[in-house]
């Protein structure tokens, strides 16, 4: 039986939690006032990696591309997945990268991890700010790893070096499908937001507690596990990263013009029970004589 090496790709993102997020008066995000944290989908990807640690004793590496302060996200991820190694790819020339140029950095970073080979890479299904969901699959393709998206559950057969995974697929106008697939390692998995690891055996639960404790200790001293790479240390070609390596540019950002009013609302005073009674009557009417069973 072989050992398992997994990696997680994460992202520092605006913190959308109430009290930390700040919106401008026009409804757009106030980036200057909003704090940054480990993105929620990155956190889920970290959980999926932790599952490998608990179940298979996997070695876990975490990598991110971002500004120096992104080490905070790495620390938060380590707290979740008890990472053995943290990588930050940080260089001014990476700024402004689109997904393809980001994938180039992440692919190169994976090769610097201190293992012979990464068997599984996890990433969130999309970032909460950019929301493209492209970086994961593009990194997978550049790595030459089989890509499995929308994964809600997975298991590894270490002997056969095979992953089985359940994927959730929504087909517009049809139905949802849970597809079970099997693929040889190495694979790249993006984790569906609904992913919830289940630890079934006593041994797993014991391992869970042990590694969770370890994670806490490690995250307190996360700098011990952290390596920072600039472009030169990574050995990336400046032509393929940052703005020069990005096929796409943001040409303009504008407010979406307000659509023409599609309905003419009757305005009702919410503090007037009499008026609200009438609203309730309308509701019943609309619902066709009401929903009494």
């Amino acid at each position: 039986m072989g050992s398992l090496n997994v990696a997680v790709i994460i992202k520092l993102e605006p913190d959308f939690s109430e009290g930390n997020v700040s919106y401008n008066s026009d409804g757009t995000l106030n980036r200057a006032e909003t704090k940054s944290i480990l993105g929620p989908h990155s956190a889920i990807a970290s959980k999926a990696a932790f599952y490998s640690k608990v179940k298979y004793g996997a070695r876990v590496s975490v990598g991110t591309m971002g500004p120096p302060i992104a080490d905070f996200a790495l620390q938060q991820a380590q707290l979740i997945c008890d990472a053995d190694e943290l990588h930050l790819y940080s260089d001014r020339i990476f700024a402004g990268a689109d997904t393809l140029a980001t994938a180039e950095v992440l692919k190169t970073g994976m090769s610097k991890m201190e293992v012979d080979k990464i068997d599984i890479v996890f990433s969130g299904y999309r970032a909460s700010d950019g929301e493209t969901g492209q970086t994961g699959p593009q990194t997978a393709w550049k790595l030459g790893y089989t890509f499995l998206g929308n994964v809600i559950d997975y298991d590894v057969d270490l002997e056969r070096q095979i992953v089985t995974a359940k994927r959730l697929i929504t087909l517009q106008g049809f139905y949802d499908i849970i597809e079970e697939v099997e693929a040889p390692l190495p694979v790249f998995i993006t984790v569906d937001p609904s992913y919830k690891p289940v630890f079934r055996t006593v041994l797993q639960r014991l391992a869970f507690v042990k590694y969770q404790k370890e994670a806490k200790e490690r995250a307190q001293n996360y700098k011990k596990y952290l390596k920072v790479f600039n472009a030169q240390q990574l050995g990336v070609d400046p032509k393929f990263v940052g703005l020069p390596g990005s096929p796409t540019i943001v040409y303009k950002v504008e407010k979406i013009p307000k659509a023409k009013a599609s309905r003419k609302a009757e305005i009702v005073d919410g503090s007037d029970p009499g008026q609200l009674r009438k609203v309730v009557a309308r509701m019943s009417e609309v619902l066709g004589g009401m929903m009494i069973k």
């Binding site: 693929a183 993006t190 096929p247 407010k255 309730v280």
Partner: protein
Amino acid sequence: MTTTTSEGNYRHLYVIIEHEEGKPIPVSLEMLGEARRLMNDFNKKYSSNEKVIAVVLGDNVRKLCEELLLYGADAVIYAESPELRYTRNLIDTKIISQIALDKECVAKISPDYAEQFKKPRYMFFAADNIGRHLSSTVLAELESGLASDINKLVIEDLEIKHEHKTKGQSMNYEKILEMYRPDFSGFLWTTILCLDNRNPAIEREYHPQACSIIPGVFQPLTRDATKKGIIVDYVPKLEEQDLNVKILSRKVIKSAVDFDTRKAIISFGRGIKDSPEENIKLIEGLAKQLDAEIGISLPISKKPYAIDETIISTYMITDRVIGTSGRRVMPLLYVAVGISGAMQHIAGMKESEFVIAINPDENSPIKDECDIFIKGRMEDVIPILIEELRKQKNLVMEVRK
């Protein structure tokens, strides 16, 4: 300054079709409709004859290919095999990339343009669970740019001055696809362009210009049974390891969230923020009275409140999001509670029969999208609504007795 050396290397608009057992997913026809409109204008404007080419992978898809010609495709390139019955990222990416670079296919469709052909000019994918990933890997393979979740497209010549792309000089780019994507807030539109690097230090060509398109945004064309076109059978070149992902089973499931059969839907947004837990309980109460399903706006799916875990995992989930990045619903009654009415959200609920909004701010955009606007705080309004609904029910029960 204009660079025209590469003109002719890039032709046509390729639309990657998604289907389930030969039946097109709606967004496939929507993309064809928009592709047709764009290329009609394009060919007129540039006096050219570039095509809308649908690309289909599957098993027994010949009928589907014929059908696509009636919905706006000039031509269809398809690859057929039992191995392609269900989509798999690795093999699909390889075949689509091969098709995109295949001169012979183009020669059969448009011989005039075949000689110089290198790559598609434009490419469309669906922004769904399959297309989002497929577009990413195909464009990684083709090494070009991709914009995701687009809901408006324009083709234009643009004067570009960019630090990297043009080394700060002003240059004319022809036939550029302007790809508009709404941001997560639904209030901003970002236009993404995919441009060749013309800066001598980093010169590089980036084609196709590609995007994934939000389902439900564009109108499909009306089926035109008189339309004719070319269908090209492509035989993919595959290696054994391309087939090593195996689909073991495939189960159709019903989402726990039922937006389709319920007559009423109540959605809530960030307006619950003063006391999220109590407010969600109020909304549950109202939903119970109306036998309604509960939906949310996109920001809520980011789990912005530190409240009871069960409430979070029940309600603050992507499955419940209504809008362009979630479900599109059309109940008889839609109640929007504490939702400001970003375009994102409106797109998902505007076809509801009757809309009631509860919001303290009369200036919020939802006012223009509802039939009754209850001006007030949900904390005050909902208890009264619940009470009135109860009374009414009791009344009916009394009468029945």
